[in-house]
């Protein structure tokens, strides 16, 4: 939505129709979601983790639009629903630019909307999506920033600063966010990518924390990006609105972070796909977002590389790509951890399903996103190498579906007992921020196997 409507939205956050929390979820959101699934005949087919039905994708979009307009977003602080008229949504969709110039200097680049089966390669954001030890922050950041396919990086999250545990809303958070922002910028400079588009600062949970790091000299620049999350499901609060207002006024790009939960209030694959698609509309209008950072995940496994979740991921990106110019990154959440073959096969599957469906990539949370220090750039690298390959070879969804079925055979049965793997410092040399030889060898072996399935890697 154009920023001129921003204050219109903020006003509704305080004056919209009143609704109690439980009534919103149980009497409005859940019934409406089930109703649109039936109305638009949306059905999950386990044989098609990458569907090839354009009409189905468009029906998911229509269901999401109807759901969004009727349900709205609940401000948990005021208990008011923010509701839009259909004309306002159409206006916002019309004005979505579809491309942004991100970063600065020689490291700046275009980020453009992609179509389904688009031959243009995906915009790749590399991120560990996990907390890390304070003394690992710089080597991990360096490792990610050094990846050639990384168009952007989001750093790990600090839990301590100067040896003190970081607690949201206290001075320790102020210390942590400054350390995060400055160290990330230092890493970018050391790696020779000083103008890289950085998405920051995950350590900042509070609005004050985010505002504290807005600084073109040492912190988050107006050429960088910030994430502002949606509260599950279809909620916002005044703290998030503060972040939205600040980022719009500061001038950086905003990514709306959304993760509809499979098995939660959305129900199964169909509801999760519609809800996650609707979140793109929330991002565009309520969050004033320039892009969506989409991570639907399974309630039990906290992952989205299983068969039903790949269907959700593919369906969402097809629906959004075909019906809007919204930029959307598909965030992998994988079951296995670093240093395992399983995580690499999962990464390949996620990258493949996302890119052929029109998405960009945000790779990747691993080991169920649960264990400090457990993530390395190699998992993200494979997802993005696969993403680049399938775009360049103009892979169809049908071909992609066949490959993904073979990839699922490699790991699907192990999802419930996925190996945790090893932490960053056992997979990488922390002094050089480069992968250890054994992990690189494993990477090459898995990549060769993926290639035999039909993925034509350019190198």
């Amino acid at each position: 939505m154009p920023p001129v409507q921003m204050w219109n939205i903020f006003e509704r956050a305080g004056t919209g129709p009143f609704c109690e929390d439980d009534d919103f979820t149980f009497k409005i959101l859940m019934p409406k979601l089930q109703q649109v699934i039936r109305k638009y005949d949306i059905r999950y087919d386990p044989a098609m983790p990458i569907p090839q039905d354009d009409d189905l994708a468009d029906r998911v979009w229509q269901a999401a639009v109807e759901f969004f307009l009727e349900v709205g977003v609940l401000n948990g602080d005021t208990h008011r629903r923010i509701l839009l008229e259909e004309a306002e949504l159409r206006e916002a969709l019309y004005h979505a630019p579809g491309r942004y110039w991100v970063g600065a200097g020689k490291d700046a680049r275009w980020w453009e909307h992609r179509a389904v089966e688009d031959e243009r390669t995906p915009f790749c954001i590399f991120s560990p999506d996990i907390t890390c030890d304070e003394d690992l922050f710089l080597p991990m950041s360096l490792a990610y920033i050094q990846e050639p396919l990384a168009d952007s990086v989001c750093a790990p999250i600090l839990e301590e600063s100067m040896g003190l545990p970081i607690k949201s809303g206290t001075p320790t958070e102020m210390a942590g966010v400054v350390e995060h922002a400055m160290t990330l910028r230092q890493a970018a400079k050391l790696a020779g990518r000083p103008g890289m588009f950085l998405v920051a600062v995950g350590t900042a949970q509070s609005d004050t924390g985010q505002i504290a790091v807005s600084n073109d000299d040492w912190g988050v620049r107006h050429t960088d990006g910030r994430l502002i999350g949606i509260l599950s499901e279809m909620r916002v609060d005044n703290e998030l609105l503060n972040k939205i207002a600040h980022c719009a006024q500061f001038g950086c790009l905003v990514g709306c972070l959304s993760g509809a939960i499979y098995g939660g209030y959305a129900g199964r694959a169909e509801g999760t796909a519609v809800l996650e698609t609707a979140y793109h509309l929330v991002g565009l209008t309520i969050h004033q977002a320039s892009f969506q950072q989409s991570f639907p995940f399974h309630l039990h496994f906290t992952s989205n590389s299983g068969r039903e979740m790949l269907w959700v991921v593919s369906m969402v990106h097809q629906a959004v790509s075909r019906n809007s110019r919204i930029l959307s990154t598909s965030n992998g959440f994988l079951n296995a951890g670093p240093g395992t073959e399983m995580v690499l096969f999962e990464a390949a599957a996620h990258g493949l399903a996302s890119v052929v469906s029109g998405g960009d990539l945000w790779e990747t949370a691993v080991a169920r996103n649960k264990h400090r220090n457990y993530a390395t750039p190699l998992e993200a690298r494979l997802a993005c190498e696969v993403g680049h390959a399938v775009a360049r070879q103009r892979m169809s969804r049908g071909q992609a579906n066949q490959i993904v079925l073979h990839l699922l055979e490699k790991y699907e049965a192990q999802i419930a007992q996925a190996p945790k793997g090893k932490p960053f410092q056992e997979c990488y040399d922390r002094r050089t921020a480069r992968p250890n030889a054994w992990y690189l060898d494993m990477y090459k072996r898995v990549k060769e196997q993926v290639a035999t399935l039909g993925v034509q890697f350019p190198y």
Binding site: D21, F26, M30, Q34, G76, T131, I157, E159, P165, I166, K167, S168, G169, E173, T203, Q205, S206, L231, S232, E233, R235, D237, I261, Y262, G263, G264, Y265, G267, R268, L299, H300, T302, N369, K370, H371
Partner: protein, 210 residues
């Protein structure tokens, strides 16, 4: 098991609220003991619901309608439980910690604990340490459950435990923690009595605390 209790259990699992109420009323009329109606007609099916959730056959929507059917049946049964001197499973105070507005984990655990016969005092989300402590003082629970979805908010769990300790009430409750970023090691480090990775195990732990 008595056929009417089998029917009541099936109504709960299927989420048929009116039917559950009717079957409980019929079981009472037939002279079955309130204890047996509670245990076999209402609590046992919720344990089955929990098992199906663990197996991935049921998710939140199915659990929700089953829980509502169970509560509807329980509403019919409650006056008779009191008369018969039947005591429920104890009181649980539950909430999502300060700074965190995510409620799905908390709601799942609350549903399952209620299904297992516990009385639930749900404090909601964004609950500060003082509010947890005050709830312990007011409701005398046997168990306190805390949920957090963010690594930055889960640290508030320790403050809640401290607040309960400051009121001299720590020895009177067991404290159970859970949520996506929470681990067994974290639970131990903050002095919690238990960690549950999911709602079913929360129930098992709650029962094991006696």
């Amino acid at each position: 098991m008595e056929p009417i209790l089998v029917a009541a259990a099936e109504s709960v699992i299927a989420g048929r609220k009116a039917e559950a109420e009717r079957h409980v009323a019929q079981a009472l009329t037939a002279g079955l003991s309130p204890q047996s109606i509670l245990t076999e007609g209402l609590i046992a099916p919720m344990a089955e619901v929990g098992a199906r959730f663990e197996r991935g056959e049921f998710y939140v929507p199915e659990m929700l309608i089953a829980a509502r059917a169970m509560q509807a049946g329980l509403a019919v049964l409650k006056p008779h439980l009191a008369q018969a001197g039947v005591v429920m499973g104890g009181t649980v105070v539950i909430g999502t910690v300060q700074g965190d507005l995510h409620d799905i984990g908390k709601n799942l655990v609350a549903m399952m604990l209620e299904g297992a016969g516990f009385e639930i005092v749900d404090l909601g989300t964004d609950v500060g340490p003082e509010k947890f402590a005050a709830a312990v003082r007011e409701h005398h629970p046997s168990l306190v459950g805390m949920s957090a979805l963010l690594t930055t908010t889960m640290k508030n769990m320790q403050s809640c435990i401290q607040a309960i300790e400051d009121l001299g009430l720590r020895s009177q409750v067991k404290i159970l923690v859970g949520g996506a970023p929470v681990t067994e090691a974290f639970a131990t480090s903050i002095g919690a009595d238990g960690y549950a990775p999911d709602a079913s195990r929360a129930v098992a732990l709650a029962k094991s605390f006696g």
